[in-house]
Amino acid sequence: MAKVVLEVNELTTRYITRFRESIYAVDHVSLKVESGKSLGIAGESGCGKSTLALSLMGYYFAPLHYTSGEIIVDERNITGLDPDEVRKTILGTEISYIPQAAMNALNPTRRVINFIEDVIQAHRPGITRTEVYAMAKERFELLGLPAEVLHKYPVELSGGMKQRTVIATSVILSPKVLIADEPSSALDVTSQKMVIKMVMDLMDKGIIKSLVFITHELPLLYNVTDDIMVMYAGQVIEKGSAQEMVFDPIHPYTKALMGSIIVPEAGLRNVKLAAIPGTPPNLKNPPSGCRFAERCKYVMPECRVASVELQKASEGRAYRCLIPEEDLRKAYKHEK
């Protein structure tokens, strides 16, 4: 078995609102990413996937707070480390991040190269400008970005170029794990392809060892990542290999998520789009039973009684449902 680069055990983080209410946006989440592997995280808006991305870095600031669980990066447990220590030795070098809103991720009044200089300086104080430039140029060119971009201000770059600049900046120090939070969702299809290809290149070219890719588009994950984890209301609802998750979903939510994808093909107008009825529960007071119960087709009275634990299905496969997997599969077959 390959070396585990990122391991998260029962991580719980919460937002504390200005009215001192706690919102557990990441609720006992565990995951493991091996070297050379990638993990996709999918779910609807508000399911906690972006919060999970932020929580994975072990660096919290208000309103997000660490509650419990542990994060192990390359055999080093980073939970409970001093925030300044995390900043210096983890962020950017061990774990790096591509934000959702790359359009505004760069300081508008700083040239790309100066920003990169600040990033490198934060981890390697005393590095010279020439060295920074050489590093940046080498990395940008390796990723197919022209070196002129370095001398530009963010406003002078197009949306796609900005996103690619952000990606190249995030991996300037060759982090072991890269967390990409919907890096392509705000772009047009061509730019989207370029960005996805670039993220995959990072793995192929050995710049990063592991990737965590977050998106609301499940089929995109099938093309990009090895494993997929589906989140619902702050919890992991199902996980498994990309192949299994897409072609053989167990949990009714995963199944529904697959059904709600628009496939652009002839006669689309006649196909009834299977949207999932209802909305996710309010995380201020999550329901006591299964969190998906309200929207589930197969709901039983027991579902609403006690919280449902993750059930192990096969190696690396788990789902959070009271109904046994065979029965769920039978039900799906019957529907067809």
Partner: protein
């Protein structure tokens, strides 16, 4: 750089057009005021004369001196020529002093009062606003309402409050004037001390109002910037908080520079009320006497100074912005 040159030239062309329009309005508007100021000096000069022809002659002499018997267009042409030679003519209300003499005696008082007050108020206001945005909590809860109160206080209100507290009740500072009336301006220590003492109340009344407005502006800009996506991203790449704060305050400061240029550009006009209340010998008091006396040449010259200062400040602002803010720099090429 070609884009920048075009930007500069375009801005400069607009600047010239605005100056010409403003110059014309400055000339015409005072002359549309009702009343005959020449009659007032003529009456003053002809005091004691009983001969009606003599009075008439005096009146006509002053009419010719101020050329108000000529058509307004001709007056305008002559005026332009004179202004270009630096000659603003005689003041009507303070005849026989020239306009240039009256202005040069008062303008430095105004600049010495306003310029430092605006700079001090701007620096203190921005620092407090930035701190409030960064620290939040109790500091912000006290500063924000206080700033709103200060900035909404009219200039004369602030001046009167300070006047009542510090000079009428506490008697720490004199109530009016730029220096002790019993003194003749000279370079002695007594005189300088007198100027400093008289300086305090008008100075702080302007500083306090400036602080209020600037602190509110800086606070909201800094809070906005602190929550910007680039701050979050920079944090997650491990950049030090100190560096990020530098980003934030530089970006929040940019709109505040507009506020500074605006205050400096309009400082002469803005000082009017404070100067009048403290009877300060600056341009504000001069304008008041000029308007009351229907003194066309003096009004035109003082308003011309105000207009030019405002226009130069805005022009300089646009030029500087083009250099320091890449977002505006990028927009220039459009």
């Amino acid at each position: 750089m070609k884009g920048y040159r075009d930007y500069f030239l375009r801005k400069f062309a607009w600047f010239i057009v605005t100056v010409v329009v403003a110059f014309t309005l400055n000339f015409i508007l005072p002359r549309l005021m009702p009343g005959d100021p020449v009659a007032a000096i003529a009456a003053r000069m002809a005091q004691g004369m009983s001969n009606a022809t003599g009075v008439q002659a005096v009146y006509e002499q002053y009419t010719r001196l101020f050329a108000i018997d000529k058509p307004i267009l001709e007056q305008y042409v002559v005026y332009i020529g004179n202004v270009f030679r630096g000659d603003f003519g005689y003041s009507i209300s303070q005849y026989p002093r020239t306009v240039a003499d009256v202005i040069s005696a008062s303008v430095w008082w105004t600049i010495a009062l306003q310029f430092p007050a605006i700079i001090v108020g701007w620096i203190i206001g921005n620092t407090l606003g930035a701190l409030a945005a960064y620290v939040r909590k109790g500091f912000d809860k006290v500063l924000l309402p206080l700033s709103i109160f200060l900035s909404n206080m009219p200039a004369f209100g602030m001046a009167i409050v300070l006047l009542v507290i510090f000079s009428v009740d506490l008697k720490w500072f004199p109530t009016s004037g730029g220096y002790d009336y019993a003194m003749i301006p000279n370079m002695s220590w007594d005189f300088v001390w007198s100027v400093i003492v008289h300086y305090q109340l008008p100075f702080w009344s302007i500083v306090l109002i400036t602080i209020g407005g600037q602190a509110i502006g800086m606070r909201s800009m800094a809070i906005y910037e602190l929550n910007a996506d680039y701050v979050k991203y920079a944090r997650f790449l491990g950049i030090k908080d100190f560096k990020i704060i530098q980003y934030v305050f530089r970006n929040a400061m940019l709109p505040q520079i507009t506020g500074l240029a605006l205050s400096i550009g309009t400082m002469v006009g803005g000082a009017l009320v404070a100067e009048i209340i403290f009877n300060y010998p600056g341009l504000g008091s001069t304008i008041l006497t000029a308007v009351l006396g229907g003194d066309y040449p003096l009004i035109s010259a003082t308003t011309l100074i105000i207009t030019l200062m405002a226009l130069v400040a805005f022009f300089a602002l646009e030029i500087v912005y083009g250099l320091i803010d890449p977002r505006i720099k990028a927009a220039q090429s459009d």
